[in-house]
């Protein structure tokens, strides 16, 4: 581990009713890195996200964020506060609220009721929301109910909400599932743009998308790392081929 390390998973194991979802998983992510995590169904990708964000507590192992923060001791809001944002597999936005209000609620700031009770939208906040709307290409849709957006637009809105949180690390779960080819391409571009200032972990099934991202790839299988390296390296790894194509 060096000073450059942002996230470090060390021997993390999680069992659900005897099923080992994560099996002594170790992973190291550098500051500013974008990493793609792939693997067949049940490989433990989503469980890994759950462990990092505090939704699931590991049975054994350590999850260290930044210098020396042990994430396994914290709950979801505390971890979000540290600067870890998460995008869910299914787009999860606040459907009853406008696009603008979704971003407003996500903006980094005081989360306590005593603040939100009296909070007035500041010009600085509007400015930040405008910037994010531009990045996620939803400027014309600011006043629409989030529930009325298309699937792809919801995905972007959720990415925008992550940006608004100003996290150091973004965890993105299957961002292009159900997207058109054009939307997929734009999403890859969007993630690369985000990666200029923040670290990103992308979990994805879509190999073409992972290739388009052009980053280091970690292959998970049965709860631990099977292979790691460039996309060409892992796709030529016989063990990966076997897992993906069957024996």
């Amino acid at each position: 581990m060096t000073d450059d390390t942002l996230l470090y998973l060390d021997g993390v194991s999680v069992s659900f009713d005897g099923f080992r979802a994560l099996n002594s998983l170790s992973l190291l992510l550098s500051r500013g890195e974008m990493r793609a995590v792939i693997g067949p169904n049940g490989a433990g990708k989503t469980t890994m996200m759950d462990v990092i964000t505090g939704k699931t507590r590991p049975d054994t192992g350590k999850v260290v964020f930044g210098a020396a923060t042990d994430l396994t001791k914290l709950d979801e809001p505390a971890i979000a506060d540290l600067g870890i944002g998460r995008k869910f597999q299914k787009p999860t936005v606040f459907e009853a609220h406008s696009v603008w209000d979704n971003l407003l609620l996500a903006l980094a700031g005081d989360r306590r009721p005593r603040f939100t009770l009296w909070a007035r939208q500041s010009s600085e906040e509007s400015g930040r929301i405008e910037d994010i709307l531009r990045t996620i290409r939803l400027r014309e849709h600011r006043d629409r109910r989030a529930g009325d957006l298309s699937h792809g637009q919801k995905q972007w809105l959720e990415i925008g909400m992550l940006l608004a949180q100003e996290p150091q690390l973004l965890l993105v779960d299957e961002p292009v599932a159900g997207m058109t080819d054009a939307e997929t391409e734009q999403t890859a571009e969007l993630l690369r743009e985000i990666n200029r200032t923040r670290s990103v972990v992308v979990v994805e099934h879509d190999m073409a998308f992972v290739r388009a991202l052009g980053v280091k790839v970690t292959v998970l299988h049965e709860g631990s790392v099977l292979s790691e390296g460039s996309i060409d390296h892992v796709s030529n790894d016989p063990r990966v081929v076997e897992v993906y194509l069957g024996r």
């Binding site: 979801e76 989360r111 306590r112 400027r139």
Partner: protein, 366 residues
Amino acid sequence: MSPWSFRVCLVAVLGGAVLLSVLNLAVPETAAFHVPTYAVSLAGKYLSYAMLALAVDLVWGFAGILSLGHAAFFALGGYAMGMYLMRQIGTRGVYGNAILPDFMVFLNYKSLPWYWHGFDNPAFAIVMVLLVPAVLALIFGWLAFRSRVSGVYLSIITQALTYALLLAFFRNDMGFGGNNGLTDFKDMFGIPLQEDSTRCGMLIATAIFLCGALLVSRYLVTSRFGKVLIAVRDTESRTRFLGYRPERYKLFVWVLSAVIAGIGGALYVPQVGIINPGEFSPANSIEAVIWVAVGGRGTLVGAVLGAVLVNLGKTVFTGALPELWLFALGALFILVTLLLPGGILGLLGRAPRRPKNATPAPEPAE
């Protein structure tokens, strides 16, 4: 929850209360437009119920907490007020005991139980009206929300809470008059309760409190706090990953809601003239949920509308066909759930919005 319907509601509540009072006091009894005093008290009772409905809507409509025990907070506020009114009777009771209320003399109490002390003081009683429901809600909510109890499980616990209180208050040993509850009130703040002018004053006071509660609730739900609350209602886990602590938001609105219900109960008791353990009955809490569903959940105004309309219907219906009322209420709930998910207010609000929603969604930006 458009601003115009909110303003109409405030004007209707206040204007209605003033109008009824004028027609009761200034119009001679022989005139056609005279409003009898019982109708004034009935209106006051409806508006007290409207406060309970508002309290239910605040937690159910905006935080997604379906409470099936909210009448417990209403009844506790009512009992606190009832205890003050009992102490005001003084020597005018049947037994003429200056300290002990009639039922205590009857049940051979030698001295006033400790928790009755202070209730002869109106300021103390008013504080208790607010404090007792608030503290119960705080303890209950803290335990429930911290443990992430939600949905149907929480509804069942709220029902158990009010049922437990029902059984407790039925006991003579509790010192709240048992089965008969508290009644035979004479005056409040030194004003005789039976006077027509007192009845009208209480109706107008109830209207003012209801409007105040509406204004506070509206501020709350339109503030950023309210936006977080709606987000918690729809997608609680998402708010956690954004760094919010949903349990704190729920607890705040839950306690506020209990206080509003408690004030409603305190206004209800002097106008109805009695408070007994029947007010804790689970059926009362369920009825309050039906008022909100009928008027329109998550609209505040709908809660008031539903409470007044359903209770008006109840008064008429129980006069004509008393044994069929519960069937009618059940049928109403089923019909509203199936045909009018937005309640009456949803019906009103949908008309102008439809053309806007009917336009095809614009294509995603390229």
